[in-house]
């Protein structure tokens, strides 16, 4: 019986797979068991109880309410949000800059093309960590002290402590207007989608689309603001005590990291965009031009949509790299997840394995999520055979 099964190649394949999987599981189990035993022997405490202990240290930037008396679990969330913040800022600006540079590099304007080429070659060939240090120490050594701040109209300030911007403060009526803007934005998106379907079905766009959109986006908030008798004032930063109070504060650590991540990743994105555009055959452009389309429309209607299919997958890689690279924040003390949680929290609690495992799980989750979203987008722009 056994011999017969053994001779059956399908069964044999199953057998070997089962064997391999159990070997891997045994090995994993051995590692976990050994770790636990060793930790126990050395008197190092384990488990996740530390997450509810009070943290006792301050964090310079937090998107949620945080103070020293809150738990290590809170430090995890604060670090995570700071990582997401700098990653999101980096992705948005790197995409804009990268697309600009990629298109510029193909420009028929000699100077523009060369500037873009030099930009790409310089910034993608210098290690990111060095660039972060450069921007950070450049910021620190060039900028003046808070009392000698550089200012623009006395409402924007720039000094060694960062950039200070006025912050809009709405009362209840003002908040209604803000929500009205959100509603208007959603309606506009719906309108655009409707227009797309209309054009696909009938070949004609909806009439007055742009005017309606603009009216919605501007008119609705303004009218509600007026109706709700809302008020808005600006919280302008002012010098008080050791530094500036009020307004929005952007830390030099955040600025340096954001800048470095943007500039570095944009250099790669520029190359991705250039290759995407170059992958569209020349005949397409010539055909579009022969139909009488202006160069801008040739780019927007013919080249870019086709290039996107080539651009999206490598662009996803760049986004993932940027998110992971944001962990270099720890080098300049920007309070991201690695600095706050895998750094200070780890050190104060001594629970290296739990902390590092949680940190790795977070990066894995973020990366897989971004990857999933980009794949969805990719399916959307992919060539559909009709």
């Amino acid at each position: 019986m056994l011999l017969r099964l053994w001779r059956d190649s399908a069964w044999r394949a199953v057998l070997f797979q089962v064997l391999l999987i159990s070997l891997v599981l045994l090995f994993g189990g051995w590692i976990v068991d050994n770790t636990l035993t060793n930790l126990e022997n050395r008197g190092i405490s384990t488990g996740f109880d530390f997450l509810s202990q009070s943290a006792g240290f301050g964090i310079i930037q937090s998107l949620i309410e945080y103070n020293e008396s809150l738990s290590f679990g809170h430090t995890f969330v604060v670090g995570l949000l700071n990582t997401l913040l700098v990653s999101a800022l980096g992705i948005v600006f790197a995409t804009l800059l990268g697309f600009g540079m990629g298109v510029a590099r193909l420009s028929s304007n000699w100077l523009l093309a060369k500037v873009a080429a030099v930009y790409v070659e310089v910034f993608r060939n210098i290690p990111l960590l060095l660039q972060i240090f450069f921007w950070y120490f450049a910021v620190l050594s060039v900028l003046p002290s808070p009392r000698q701040s550089l200012s623009l109209f006395d409402i924007f300030f720039l000094n060694i402590r960062g950039v200070f911007l006025p912050e809009p403060v709405f009362d209840a009526g003002g908040m209604i207007a803000v929500w009205a803007f959100v509603v208007a934005a959603v309606l506009t998106v719906g309108l655009v989608l409707l227009n797309k379907r209309q054009r696909k079905n009938t070949g004609r766009p909806l009439p007055f689309l742009k005017a309606t959109g603009a009216l919605l986006l501007i008119g609705l908030p303004v009218v509600t603001f007026w109706l709700a008798n809302g008020s808005l004032h600006w919280d302008v930063p002012h010098l008080k005590g050791f530094g500036f109070k009020g307004g929005i504060e952007l830390l030099p650590e955040l600025l340096a990291l954001w800048f470095a991540l943007t500039v570095y990743t944009a250099a790669f994105i520029a190359e991705v965009v250039r290759s995407g555009i170059e992958s569209v055959s020349k005949g397409q452009k010539e055909a579009a031009a022969a139909l009488g389309l202006r160069p801008g429309r040739v780019m927007n209607l013919v080249v870019i949509p086709q290039a996107m299919r080539v651009i999206i997958p490598p662009l996803t890689n760049q986004y993932l790299n940027l998110i992971k690279n944001s962990s270099l924040a720890t080098a300049i003390g920007y309070p991201d997840l690695v600095s706050v949680f895998a750094g200070t929290t780890l050190n104060q609690t001594g629970q290296a394995i739990e902390v590092i495992a949680m940190t790795m799980a977070v990066y894995l989750t973020i990366s897989l999520t971004v990857s999933m979203l980009m794949n969805m987008y990719n399916r959307w722009v992919a060539l559909v055979e009709r």
Binding site: L15, N41, I60, L140, F242, S339, G343, G350
Partner: protein, 341 residues
């Protein structure tokens, strides 16, 4: 065939896993003797405690402690490999066995004793946390620091004390963290923060690093107790004893007036305490697995506590720190070592 396969592989697997299970950490003393040098975790660079000179030679109080330990264990104070560690790296390095002893201005706290699997072998320097500010600010007390940006080394007890101090005094602050104490000094120097906080001994050392040391002042407040001392891993009592008594021997030597210069002469002293201290008489090193003259080697090659203190951070150094709390108990301080008996 299948059965045979299982029969063969399973026991083999179990055997290997049992064999590899929990590789018991051997005796640290034996490991050190075997490799012929001591791996000592020190600060990455803190004048007076541990810092390398331009030729890569390490010096400082923490460094001298390791030299003393090596002299006692291996008979040669120079058989030490220094491993510079940041505050964040230090405990992991000791836990994982990368170093044999951590002598890196580390504060003795309950958490570190109880949940890190480490043991403090004593106090080699009684310190307290203080603040340094720029003279221009015109600040005379730490109570005037509301709203200040504070440069601080991450992963230290200073970080926690700072938070406590500002909270109990109802003040706000901005923590600007750096990985190394050198980084905090640079941050302070560039003006990124108004205040630099750390153990007082470090403040004096870091002040020397500033571009203009005269422009910074150390505020009078001392906001915490920072007993600094060497650490070892738990579970090796013999090694724990060796480290503990190397420190005690240096303190006892000061008390009995034994120095590196007169150690040879003192061996023939009539004082029974000195005889026991130098291993001429008494318990010697046997109980700890060391040579009879181990304590003599410590004192002869490195010196007593006072010598180490004065050359590294006291009168003989640029830091000029007074003994203060670190004077002997008999001279107004709290330095006190159990007797060699």
């Amino acid at each position: 065939m299948l059965k045979a396969l299982v029969k063969l592989t399973l026991p083999a697997l179990l055997l290997t896993s049992a064999g590899l299970q929990a590789n018991q950490a051997g005796s640290t003393l034996e490991t050190v003797k075997e490799k012929g040098f001591l791996s000592c975790g020190v600060n990455t660079g803190l004048p007076g405690f541990s810092s390398p000179d331009d030729k890569g030679k390490w010096s400082g109080m923490d460094v001298d402690f390791c030299r003393g330990l090596a002299a006692g264990v291996l008979g040669d104070a120079n058989k030490v490999k220094y491993i510079p560690l940041t505050a964040k790296e230090r405990f992991t390095a000791l836990q994982s066995g990368e170093i044999d002893v951590l002598s890196r201005n580390t504060t003795w706290t309950l958490t570190r004793d109880a949940s890190l699997g480490l043991n403090f072998a004593g106090v080699s320097y009684y310190d307290g946390q203080g603040f340094m500010v720029s003279k221009d600010l015109g600040v005379t007390s730490a109570k005037q620091l509301d709203g200040a940006a504070v440069c601080i080394q991450s992963g230290t007890t200073s970080e926690l004390n700072l938070a406590d101090y500002f909270r109990t005094n109802g003040m706000k602050y901005q923590p600007v963290v750096f990985d190394t104490s050198d980084g905090t000094a640079k941050g302070f120097d560039s003006g990124r923060c108004d205040v630099l906080t750390s153990d007082q001994s470090q403040l004096y050392a870091l002040r020397l690093r500033l571009s203009n040391p005269g422009k910074a002042v150390v505020l009078p407040e001392v906001i915490s107790k920072e007993p600094l001392g060497p650490l070892v891993r738990q579970g090796d009592d013999q090694w724990f004893n060796i480290v503990k008594w190397s420190l005690s021997v240096m303190i006892n030597a000061e008390e009995l007036g034994v120095t590196s210069a007169n150690a040879d002469k003192m061996r023939s002293s009539a004082n029974p305490s000195i005889k026991r201290l130098l291993g001429v008489d008494g318990p010697k090193g046997k109980g700890m697995g060391l040579n009879d003259d181990w304590s003599y080697q410590v004192i002869k090659q490195v010196g007593n506590y006072s010598e180490v203190f004065e050359t590294n951070v006291g009168e003989g150094s640029p830091l000029k720190i007074e003994r203060g709390l670190n004077a002997l108990w008999s001279q107004g301080g709290i330095l006190y070592a159990p007797p060699v008996r």
